[in-house]
Assembly symmetry: C2
Homo-oligomer: 335 residues x 2
DNA sequence: TTGTAGGCGTTATCAG
DNA sequence: CTGATAACGCCTACAA
């Protein structure tokens, strides 16, 4: 391994001169600096990050907390897309991404301990159980953190705008003349709560009476449960004219039931998804859905985190909402 | 930050005694060891990985090379599933996962340089352009590597058994009585070559005459191109009785065309996918496909890599083939 | 069984 | 402009 020392010997200058030259300090003569850089290049020098961060207490390393609580985890395109974007945003700023978990070596450690041990400059927290004490410990620690889709008091967060999403969906459906609209929602998380609150308030605003029989809980990314709920809706005497699904993927379950009954989308029943994953736009008829901007969310989360890392004094906890976009598709019929 | 020194002062013993006690060396008396451990616990001591790896030249850190050459990258469930499994396999052995890329800080660096800089103990290489000189440099370096779905001379690799996959598909289709079978394949990679070679040889073995008009190139994970190819097949005078798609997701493109023509799967035309992603088993009729065992592939890749890291002398380059499983589904009709 | 001392590769301070 | 020198936190001969 080529070290600073090798270069200093090769060039006949001191250790510190080499260090300064390579780090672009300006108290080194142009010629020496050039000579040192050439030598470094020639000898194939690479800095040693461990030594460097031992000294500087910086690692250029961002931790990512991504526990697949739902066990669909990275298989969910919303999250894999976000990860991809976190990765490339971090890379473009010169940071690496390391997954944070609970165990390292023989030791069991908390997320905070892990991040600390690895010297992460900051951590992006997404897709975890936010009520977990371990997560809370991390958020309350001195390590900069940014959360996605959940708000803690002292920590910046980036939120997919679920209020807007559901509002747009409800308004669109209403504008198409639907008055009996069923909703299948995911498990009870803060995301779900926001979506449903938005749905209810939008209904109220539009003067739409809510029938609680038309609201059912299923799970995100679980087509089977959405299929069940769909069946129950279709069995009602006064069946809804439109069903809103927890997400695009779950809709596939509903689709099967609908087709099995010999019904046609959207002629016999309208449907609408959530997420805007690739699949939604490939299906025919093209699915009406609200596209969450997972790429933007990941990007902003990283930006905000790096800002906090590099300018801790200037950076204040902030809640950033990222709106998505209604993709009109072809599955909501004009009544 | 609590360091070894703090503990040593607290306990009134030396630095090295603490270090040894914490690392379970047995030349420390039971009582002292216990006292030290208690103090460490009490003070909230955490080892500093940078300092440790500076000394030991180990980081307990595995790099992952995951460049989305196809730009669908992690959005492809085959890869996101594999990553998830790499992550958890590494975690269970006490290793962390860090993504390797080309840039760090202001510097542009090669993959090798990046991995070296980060001190990765080893690197798993998956989903990249394997002909890239940078990738080759990494593989030929002193850093242990394992590749997925590609074989280099001196490096262990884990392969999804594409020969078996295509063989099973062909045999199954044949056993169902199909004789005019069309294939849409992905872009020209070694994976594609293996699948096609396997298809051709299986056809030959079964005495099936290959009609080159029934083979078309599209791209993986690209429903549009598969839709085009499907259309051309359906326009043929003597249309195939079965179409094999490059992957499950691409099949959706074909499905649209088929339905648009008013044809029914499998009554009017049989179809078969590849990958066995969640979607395939949700579709109705359930898609016949070959499920690649991405979880197993990721797990084995990590195992093999860690073996190589920890026992370099015992570990020899090895090519491990992971077979998948034909999911019979309902989209191939008995003729 | 415990302690001393040196060094891993860097950076930073301060004197020349 | 350049060079000694001392850290950063940890591990490990070797000495006691």
């Amino acid at each position: 391994m080529v070290t600073l020392k090798d270069i200093s010997e090769y060039c006949g200058v001191s250790n510190s001169t080499v260090s300064k030259a390579l780090n672009g300090q300006k108290d080194i003569s142009k010629q020496t600096a050039q000579r040192v850089r050439d030598a470094a290049q020639k000898l194939g020098y690479l800095p040693n990050s461990a030594a460097r961060s031992l000294k500087t207490n910086k690692t250029l390393n961002i931790g990512v907390l991504f526990v697949d609580k739902t066990s669909s985890g990275l298989r969910h395109e919303y999250f894999s897309g976000m990860l991809e974007s976190i990765k490339s945003a971090a890379e473009s700023k010169g940071y690496d991404i390391t997954f944070i978990s609970r165990n390292l070596g023989e030791r069991q450690m908390s997320f905070y301990e892990h991040a600390k041990y690895r010297g992460c400059d900051g951590v992006v927290i997404a897709s975890v159980d936010f009520s977990n004490p371990d997560v809370i410990e991390l958020v309350n620690s001195e390590i900069p953190t940014v959360t996605v889709d959940y708000v803690y008091d002292r920590c910046s967060s980036v939120l997919s705008d679920n209020l807007d999403g559901m509002k747009q969906i409800a308004e669109y459906v209403f504008s198409k003349g639907h008055r009996r609209v069923a909703v299948i929602h995911g498990e009870n998380t803060s995301v779900t709560q926001k979506r449903m609150a938005s749905f209810r308030s939008t209904c109220k605003r539009l003067g739409l009476i809510l029938d609680e029989k038309l609201i059912k809980e299923a799970r995100y990314h679980d087509p089977k449960l959405s299929a069940l709920a769909t069946r129950e809706f279709l069995d009602l005497d006064d069946r809804p004219t439109c069903i809103i699904y927890p997400d695009d993927f779950s809709f596939i379950g509903g689709k099967n039931i609908i087709e099995q009954r010999g019904l046609k989308v959207p002629d016999d029943i309208s449907v609408i998804g959530y997420d805007g994953i690739l699949l939604s736009q490939i299906l025919r008829p093209k699915l009406t859905t609200y596209k969450q901007n997972s790429v933007e969310i990941g990007k902003i989360a990283v930006q905000k985190l790096i800002e906090q890392i590099e300018e801790p004094s200037l950076s204040i906890p902030e809640i950033i909402s990222v709106t998505g976009k209604l993709l009109k598709g072809e599955t909501v019929k004009e009544l």
